[in-house]
Symmetry: C2
Subunit: 425 residues, 2 copies
């Protein structure tokens, strides 16, 4: 018996029938003796439809007003979800981000949570009610304006509320059974991870895995909130995202060396060709890109050719920011004196993630061998303490992911396949 | 130069193009040197669509949650309207009912305004911004829950804000040119009233005229707010609803005797046949109807027949409440001892309204003669100081309205017809 925060995304509440199904699930949790706080996103495609409406009216809508508009989406879903729960005989009360005490800064469209003061939620729980909270939104501390948290916002709302209410668990409901060792659409033999550390989850999210957003996992790690990622279509256990260094019984099973293989096709590569090999040239290039508001990912600088004293610098960035970065670099060509720019959006990134890498040598060697054996050419490499990433041709991504997954014995066994069968993965 | 509150209904902001047109009109008012506060309803059919969604999820949705749901509609319209105004080069800031300081009681779905504390609106105006306020909604004083004001709510919001801000005028925009002497769909020769008193407007609203809601006019009368009912499709003057007893230049033209002819087809008639003529029987009947939550309108009790000592009692009521009233009466038949009930929804009400009736004798005689000459049979009669209403067959309503309109010389003259031509009436 404890306090459970559940988060349901837009696909879990896409229409009236789905809302009723989710309501039943919430009531089941309540009937099991828990206090329940539910965070809900806007129904189905509502947010996209509202953005389309804004675009029809204004090519560059005011950020404050766009936030006001978009928050209508959660207002609709939370109200109908509360209605559906009432029909099942439990009191449910819906709360906007502001009413739930989600206090943010004033950065409309990408506000950060400053504080959570869930007094009204606590009162509702004390009155035996189920609290339904609008995800993705808050109210700014200074101007009391409605704000939105940006991408992954509802997950962050859920974890922030779980922390403020000292919840036992934050359950994130999705349309898959949990976090897998690879994307099951690419690797049918991918297996569900019963548990994974915050650090590995952060690396997977940063490397293109779509299940949890970075901010949400960072928040959970900071406050030690266990996240349970699970399917809204089954009652099976999903994946627990937890602190695996904690001295709890969670460490009594041997930690796997490798958690999984992530991939990302949303990046592009820019190569600045023939940069004069002088102090400060690279800094000038990356400052220009940063000033254009572009976050870069991997960077490779070749050794200078002895005869020309010039070098090439390659880096990856989100493909959507490609235009902005190229414009910024073109504008400084004369100043820096580089020869030309190359833009390549036919790349993909494949990453191997595992906390066990720290203590197991030979991981890199096996990783590169598996790619070589599969005939995949590596264009760039970057590593962290618990991750190796490579940039390859986009066409090679599927082959690379499958090869690496097999090489590290991540493929599901036949016994496990029976267990996982028919869970709607 | 002054403070103008403008209210636009759902049909004025039905889509992106309509929103942009309204934005231009608002900016024109601002550019003319006025401070502008805009109250807006939900776009087009949004409210009906949200009600349908609620019905899909729950047959009897919680009143609190239904209010939370419906207020999403104005949130959308006000945000996109603010965006459209920004694009025209003026700052616009949208405010929910709560942010605008519309404080209500806790009667969800039909909340009454208790207080208006428009501090944030005043601040926005002082900062040279246009304030956009969600109509139809407020926040409850006790529980800080979101409430809605019920039918006509946005008009009431506009008048209440106009009163709190000491506005010079409250402009109610609609799809006709103002208030007419009769419904132009029935009487093509109906003429626009340049001005009308609060009292007459209240009578017209109570008698079925659809332009302004009772609550809004009552509020305006109490605080002396001039209402200007006008078309959102033209810049012509509409109808000014004002206090015609005030010693201003508004009284320098002779006040017309008759303001107009209203009609209402939404009522039904119930006749309780053979009620024993004893003290307290009528009271018992009407108490039962009231306890069923039904408001009755006109009542007629016949003189008892001397041979039976029994009488018939007829009354009219909204046809939508017919079932509830019949059930309540049937349940008390044995107790009261009446003979039978007759239900008739084939009736209509025709009313003649004019403040000048007070001082001009002979109005009733002319009214009844005109109906008799047109061959219309009168079933019930009721009068007030400035109104005469009759119940006739529903099929006779058009004939009756036209005949009365002509008899009192309300038909537009040929010269006036040219003036009104082509205004999109």
């Amino acid at each position: 018996m404890g306090l459970v925060v559940q988060k349901y995304g837009g696909s879990s509440v896409s229409d009236a029938a789905a809302v009723k199904r989710v309501a039943q699930r919430i009531v089941d949790t309540k009937n099991a003796g828990h206090e329940v706080v539910v965070v809900v996103s806007a129904m189905g495609d509502t947010t996209d439809e509202l953005i389309d409406l804004a675009q029809e009216v204004s090519p560059t809508p005011s950020a404050r007003e766009l936030d006001m508009l978009l928050t209508a989406g959660e207002r609709i879903s939370m109200a109908v979800l509360a209605m559906a729960i009432s029909d099942l005989g439990h009191e449910a009360r819906s709360f906007t981000g502001s009413q739930a005490g989600v206090i943010t800064d004033s950065a409309h469209g990408k506000a950060r949570i400053i504080d959570v003061t869930p007094g009204r939620i606590r009162t509702a729980l004390d009155g035996d009610a189920i609290a339904i909270v609008a995800g993705f939104q808050g109210v700014s501390q200074d101007s009391k304006d409605v704000t939105t948290l940006g991408r992954g916002g509802s997950d962050t709302t859920a974890v922030a509320l779980a922390a403020a209410l000292d919840a036992d668990v934050c359950e994130i409901y999705t349309d898959v059974d949990g976090i897998f060792t690879a994307d099951p659409r690419i690797v049918p033999a991918a297996r569900r991870l019963p548990r994974i550390s915050y650090e590995e989850t952060l690396e997977m999210a940063a490397c293109g895995a779509k299940i949890l957003h970075l901010r949400c996992v960072e928040y959970a790690r900071r406050y030690g909130i266990p996240i349970h990622v699970r399917s809204s279509f089954s009652t099976l256990d999903g994946t627990w995202v937890i602190d695996q260094n904690k001295g709890s019984d969670q460490t009594d099973m041997e930690q796997p060396i490798i958690s999984g293989v992530a991939h990302d096709r949303s990046e592009a590569k820019i190569t600045v060709v023939g940069v004069p090999d002088k102090v400060g040239e690279a800094a000038a290039i990356f400052r220009a890109v940063a000033e254009a508001g572009v976050n870069i990912d991997m960077i490779v600088q070749n050794v200078s050719a002895a005869d020309t004293n010039r070098t090439d610098i390659s880096f990856t960035l989100p493909a959507k920011d490609g235009r902005a970065a190229m414009d910024a670099l073109t504008a400084m060509q004369a100043q820096v004196g580089f020869e030309t720019l190359r833009y390549d959006d036919g790349v993909g990134k494949v990453s191997l993630i595992g906390a066990g890498m720290r203590s197991h040598p030979g991981i890199s060697a096996k990783f590169f061998s598996s790619l070589a054996d599969a005939g995949v050419n590596i264009e760039m490499i970057s590593t962290s303490e618990i991750r190796i990433s490579v940039v390859v041709r986009a066409d090679d991504v599927d082959t690379a992911v499958g090869a690496v997954h097999r090489a590290f014995d991540l493929d599901v066994t036949e016994v496990e396949a029976v267990v996982y069968g028919g869970t709607g993965r």
